[in-house]
Symmetry: D2
Subunit: 302 residues, 4 copies
Amino acid sequence: MNFTGVIPILATPFHDDESFDAESMTRLVGLMRRIGVDGVTVLGVLGEANRLGDNERERVIRTAVDAAIDLPVVAGASASGNRAACDLARMAESAGASAIMITPHAEAMPSDERVFGYFASITEATSLPVVLQDHPASSGVHMPLELMLRIVNELPAISCIKEEAVPTPPKIRALTTGMKKRRIPILTGLGALYGLFDLQAGSHGFNTGFAFPEVLMAMVDAANEENWDRVQSIYTRFLPLIVFEQQPGVAVRKEILRMRGAIADNRVREPGAPLNAAVRDQLAMLISTLLPDADLTAPTLI
Amino acid sequence: MNFTGVIPILATPFHDDESFDAESMTRLVGLMRRIGVDGVTVLGVLGEANRLGDNERERVIRTAVDAAIDLPVVAGASASGNRAACDLARMAESAGASAIMITPHAEAMPSDERVFGYFASITEATSLPVVLQDHPASSGVHMPLELMLRIVNELPAISCIKEEAVPTPPKIRALTTGMKKRRIPILTGLGALYGLFDLQAGSHGFNTGFAFPEVLMAMVDAANEENWDRVQSIYTRFLPLIVFEQQPGVAVRKEILRMRGAIADNRVREPGAPLNAAVRDQLAMLISTLLPDADLTAPTLI
Amino acid sequence: MNFTGVIPILATPFHDDESFDAESMTRLVGLMRRIGVDGVTVLGVLGEANRLGDNERERVIRTAVDAAIDLPVVAGASASGNRAACDLARMAESAGASAIMITPHAEAMPSDERVFGYFASITEATSLPVVLQDHPASSGVHMPLELMLRIVNELPAISCIKEEAVPTPPKIRALTTGMKKRRIPILTGLGALYGLFDLQAGSHGFNTGFAFPEVLMAMVDAANEENWDRVQSIYTRFLPLIVFEQQPGVAVRKEILRMRGAIADNRVREPGAPLNAAVRDQLAMLISTLLPDADLTAPTLI
Amino acid sequence: MNFTGVIPILATPFHDDESFDAESMTRLVGLMRRIGVDGVTVLGVLGEANRLGDNERERVIRTAVDAAIDLPVVAGASASGNRAACDLARMAESAGASAIMITPHAEAMPSDERVFGYFASITEATSLPVVLQDHPASSGVHMPLELMLRIVNELPAISCIKEEAVPTPPKIRALTTGMKKRRIPILTGLGALYGLFDLQAGSHGFNTGFAFPEVLMAMVDAANEENWDRVQSIYTRFLPLIVFEQQPGVAVRKEILRMRGAIADNRVREPGAPLNAAVRDQLAMLISTLLPDADLTAPTLI
């Protein structure tokens, strides 16, 4: 697995009664395959992983792996204790995941040493490559550059950085410059909010939940060709939707996936806020102006 | 189940490799039975519940229930989503728990309405009585008096309040005065740090991890007899140990339980801090001055 | 004062040694007058108010008021105690401010009643109108809808809401619907990140630090004419800059103001991060593509 | 100035209208002189420093210095920007303070380098010795051992550590062991809650607001004579009051100072909670059982 390009974070579809909707998950993965992404990630924040029991997590991974066929599946496996995270990592491995994504857990007494130990113990527990997620806004953990470089240097299983500590462009640059002994790809998230600037700074692509990954793929392709005018032009065109989507709450993204025919229901697990009717109307209007007459259920040509 | 008196919060014993030590759990519950407590609670913060997988949680409850015989077992069943909490609650019920303890989960956008909905959904999911835990320091959720009274009034399954929002005495009084339609017992926790003052304020006992519950039982008995001199005298005598024990980290309490013969190892799951050698010496010295020549493995006469 | 349209939040200019640069402040206010904004706000978060002493705050207000001539000046006057906030409010009044902006201060024990009391005491201390700022990300205070409506209804001095609790559009709608007894304008901030959606939801304009207020003025004008295509088109065109600017840290905005000839130096007070060289290059490139050949020191025609 | 022994943190007395009560401050310092403490600290958290304007802070320092005669006065001078802290430090110096107390300020992006720079800039701004306060619960800043040792080693003006990061005993030991190049005294605070254990771990005394400093002085004297039985016996006797006092909110301590004749009113600045009547009764009862028939206005013989 390469960890470059576009690896969407998938929502976890639920039926109206909040039970897992495996059929929608299969359809969602299928849409991603048709779009041609480089992999998919399940059980991130967008996947409402923290609202799932362990058995449900396993079902989500197995369903995604089955549907993905040859597409790599990355599984979120963070937990609040090292051992629980290792158990999740082993479960993900046996369920067929190609990699795991790990974010450190906030502790009462922050300690760089313990964060390192957390990653070390997980990389010992499985043979899977690990995506190191740096997202202080959700984790509460601020990883200094030195700590991240140490983790990359000393733990060969760490195979990708998902950089989401704002402002991201300077941190991407500092990581890129700092990785002297061992170089691994850096992807960015945050709904691609800073996509243009992250690519300029050296990001290798996206690992995020934006519901039109084909937009991000076109940006990455253009960046690889150093066609920065095209990157900026695509980014600018879709930025209103990127901004709209990354508002707090996952209901907006689920609604787009519903509009795309991928999932049956935009249901979010309580206490997550359901989709507000006025917000849904704003979203529908926005999409109709950005992609007039488009068949949303098919990959969109950018 | 009565929810008055002393219901200790139990540590979850681990072997040296951090795996669950069921034999120690059985011995720990046995010690509590011999001491004569009114019930035990598993899977609280002290029980390192957040570092356990779902299967491990079930094993902890089943082990405790088996060992408890006729002693009621309360199981912590809080989770970050309503449905996951309901699933844990149902699991606890089928594993034989007599009640569950629930603390609300911090959300990005706090909302009293959603906290109420959280408790409402859980009480619908099981037929078990529920202990409502109010501990902002660990949950990040500040429940106003009005919200707590509404929960008590409208949800008959709520059977006890575990009040740990400092300063506790005025909140205990306000709750006591405010519960007009329905009165339920109030227990306090926080390692019994404010035990004397909580009892003066009307607390019905303790639901906490202090490793000598017999001390708290003697205080409650004296309070019930309105022998406040005796309450204060017991409290004062053991307060240095109460203070020492409630320092952050669960290793200190596990070490006392080890000294009491209840658990084999004071091991804490990573990234929890292990017992510091100097701290262990301080603890041993302190206990030897408070309880000289005592057989710690037997219930202590206060 | 009207509290509709565009009221920019001003940076506080510093010399290279971090001392207050009154001359730049005068020039900055002058640029805003030439642009034709509806007022200016000093001593917000962007104004680094929390890094200034009381005497410096007074100097900032007096300098802005002197330069503003007939343009209204709103002064941030939040503090961590009611009395200190009242003292700041009175100082702002005697220094010639036309209004004050107040955000509640996080307390160890959150209480809607105390937040109300905070606003009540400030409105009693001065005769100035008050802008109620709702920005949980910086204040740590989540104000429920009911509390905000009560503040608006019971305190006639509250003259405007600055709504910055994400997602903003549904809260703007709920406030608009809820203000039955008394209606006051709602402005939005957050660097205008959600500007299109906020205007659609009923916002009356902007109170934020985006360094090209003429862009926001053109959006508000178009919205007032219900020319939503034009609103969206302006928003889309400048959104990359809006996104870039609202990254954490005030150095980026200061650099734009420097490029616009308004302030002499982009210096930020320690421990605020200074402008990163690569970030400065990204910014310069971005502006040159958005506004090629423009004279940035003059109001820009949109 | 020595920075060993007992240096009480003083409350800031207010009249009923929340204005500064200089006469009570003079009387309060007078009581401390008669008790024979080693210095006093004004403008800490207990001093409600964050609820005072800059002019009020200066008045508090000048009043304390005038009343203190030959007793050293330490002034809190923390601020949220380096320059504002330097300005406060210079003000404290010119107002006659003997030392300043500094705690780092939480930043959006924590950085050990910036915390070091904060202390460095302040020690350059004045010639006063500096007490380095380590109290994450109020500051939100967790200083690793290595950072604290670097600050001590490289900044000769740092003259004392006020250690309040729980659990304190192991950190006191680690600091003591780690200070190889330069040794400075370590005092502890937290209302002396862990006083016995802190002294056992090597603390040189107390810098805290407990309203009976003579109790702490007796403990320090006994510790210096290695009479640990006496330390423990004093600690145990007064621990119920120590525990009661350190509950959140400063009203309890102000009430004791009022009972001691030192201040006229227990008034706390809004939005601080006023003294609850039932809490006041608990306090009065507790003091009457601990110190029956004592003249509280005179130094108490322990």
